[in-house]
Amino acid sequence: MIGILNISSYTCVLAMIALGLAVVFGMMDIVNLAHAEWVTIGAYALAVAQAVGGKEAFWLALLVAPAVGAVLGWCLERFIIRLLYDRPLDTLLATYAVSLILQKALELVFGTQPMLVYAPFSGAVPVPGGSYPAYRIFVIGVALTVTAGCWLLFARTRFGTQLRAVIQHPAMAEATGIDTRRLNRIAFCGGAALASLAGVLVAPMVSVESHLGVSYLAKAFFVIVLGGIGSIAGSILGSAVIGTAETLLSYRVDPSLASAVVLVLSIVVIRFRPQGLIPGFSAAHQLLGKG
């Protein structure tokens, strides 16, 4: 039971990070390598909020951090990515540079030592076969709610339909009167906000440093590639696969060896199923990329 809870808490966080990345990748064909920095920004926002307002500021940070993330994401989209829409591969390099600058800037402002963050409540909940930290159960709950919300947004609203249309065929979507630029911007900000929210949630469970996000980045990309590009179900399934494999392996072997095994596994899976486990909305968007 505890094992299952461990797996699901890791999977949920991974899914939240991967969701934004998957949608942006599917829509704009942009690989945002700075995405992981938004996880770090969320965690730092929590640290700042708690340093100012005490332990209870967690609830405030839960709202403020996504807003901060969305604003910064808007800046990134407005000032850098928009200039590079016709050169998709260069956006990868540009966002890589941005992530480098952000990491170092965070280090310069806040120092290299880990920041102090607290979980808003402690205590354990009895579950069959032992007890489990209440905070982790809270994380699972929040992540599930948010993911379900995204799913509803995608599947049931007019906005979601438009998003899927843009993913499937941007030119056609534009021809039917959808403002693709605007949708791109909204999706980008939304993805950034989700990543920041995930940052707030994971912060009390890990040590908050400037390179906190990097370890999530590579996994989030595996999730997308494994699950299928631009598909929500795919990224959820992908995070379940990667999260389960990694958690189970890390019981038996060294964590870094576990991530190596996961890497090898995903490379082998890609060889035999290049379009992902659940192919996305975009039929044309295969591993070749559109660029």
């Binding site: 890589y96 540079a97 941005v98 590639v225 060889r271 295969q286 990329g289």
Partner: protein
């Protein structure tokens, strides 16, 4: 059968006749040869070893230029192979007490095998562009984690110390490449040879095939080329060259630490090729040497400054100089600016005249 293969190879690598286009590369190469031969007589040992380390980075830049510039395969983890070469050399010479040439071979074989495995699974599956870049980044991160945590072999965070320098015997005579001047010459010879070799390959028919694949893979495929296979070949060759650079680096500096796997260095490699100009051969090497020396100068003032400068340079390069920096363009821009300063009154008058009309 072997005759057929030899004929095939001759067809691939046959060189066109010397023409006016070959003058400037030949000239540059000869100048480089002369400079490499002469410099040790003027430079002190400290300067010599600093520039030598920068030249090793030049070899790395060359290998990446072959991969990204020529074949159009973007990877974010090219230093994986540098690190594999360095660790292979270090482990073979220090832990197993092998000769340095064996160490070099082990390093190159390791890197080549890893590149072949990754390349087979990814390139043959059709993974290109973003996907390949991201997965190579992940490979780099995992390699770094393994280098840190697998202490019994790699020495953990401290790495491996006391790596012997290069030395090899031909017949009864032993060449010792440990002194500052000898190691300079060995690095210079490898760099110049690699430059010449890659220059020749790119000049031949095979270079044209690579250009075709980089420009439009579908068309190249339609012309009957097995593109995945050619990309895999270039990937492995580039990894082997990077591993040679790694082994030279380990032999020259005497230490290997998990730092060689740092994503920062991988970023620098991309920057060198981006600034030096993709697909050109001299540019990336010069950019690598200059930027490595610049990094050493900057990090003697502050250690935090370099990544920020690197990120800024990188962003500026991607946004404003997608084709790299060219001496020719610089001169042209300077000439235009100079002319604008000189002829400004004329331009104004012309503008007025147009307005009046």
């Amino acid at each position: 059968m072997s005759g057929k293969h030899a004929g095939c190879l001759r067809l691939w690598f046959s060189q066109p006749l010397l023409g006016p286009r070959d003058v400037s590369p030949l000239l540059m190469w000869s100048v480089a040869v002369a400079a490499m031969a002469v410099v040790p007589f003027f430079a002190g040992p400290w300067l010599l070893s600093t520039v030598r380390d920068a030249l090793v980075m030049g070899i790395l830049a060359l290998s990446y230029d072959l991969l990204w510039g020529r074949a159009g395969v973007l990877t974010l983890g090219h230093t994986t192979f540098l690190g594999l070469g360095a660790y292979g050399f270090a482990i073979a010479t220090v832990q197993f007490g092998q000769a340095s040439l064996t160490g070099l071979a082990v390093g190159v074989l390791c890197a080549g095998a890893v590149a072949a495995a990754i390349g087979y699974f990814l390139l043959f599956a059709g993974a290109r562009l973003h996907f390949f870049a991201i997965i190579s980044l992940a490979v780099l991160i995992v390699a770094q984690q393994l280098a840190v945590s697998w202490q019994s072999i790699t020495g953990g965070d401290t790495g491996i110390l006391g790596i012997p320098g290069l030395s090899f015997g031909v017949g009864s005579h032993t060449f010792d490449m440990r002194g500052p001047r000898a190691s300079w010459y060995s690095v210079a010879v490898v760099l110049l040879a690699a430059t010449a070799l890659i220059g020749l390959v790119c000049r031949s028919r095979y270079g044209k095939v690579l250009d075709a694949i980089a420009t439009n893979e579908w068309r190249a495929k339609a012309c009957g080329y097995h593109t995945s296979f050619h990309l895999l070949l270039v990937f492995v060759a580039s990894a082997a060259l990077a591993a040679i650079a790694g082994a030279l680096m380990a032999a020259c500096s005497g230490v290997v630490a998990p730092d060689v796997f740092s994503p920062l260095l991988a970023t620098e490699v991309i920057l060198w090729v981006a600034i030096g100009g993709r697909g050109r051969i001299g540019g990336p090497v010069i950019a690598a040497v200059v930027l490595t020396l610049l990094r050493q100068a900057v990090s003697s003032y502050s250690t935090d400054g370099w990544p920020l400068i690197l990120g800024g340079l990188f962003l500026a390069c991607v946004l404003f100089m997608p084709n790299g920096l060219r001496l020719h363009d610089l001169l042209e821009a300077a000439r235009r600016a100079g002319r604008a300063v000189w002829i400004r009154p004329l331009v104004h008058r012309a503008g007025h005249a147009r307005e009046e009309r």
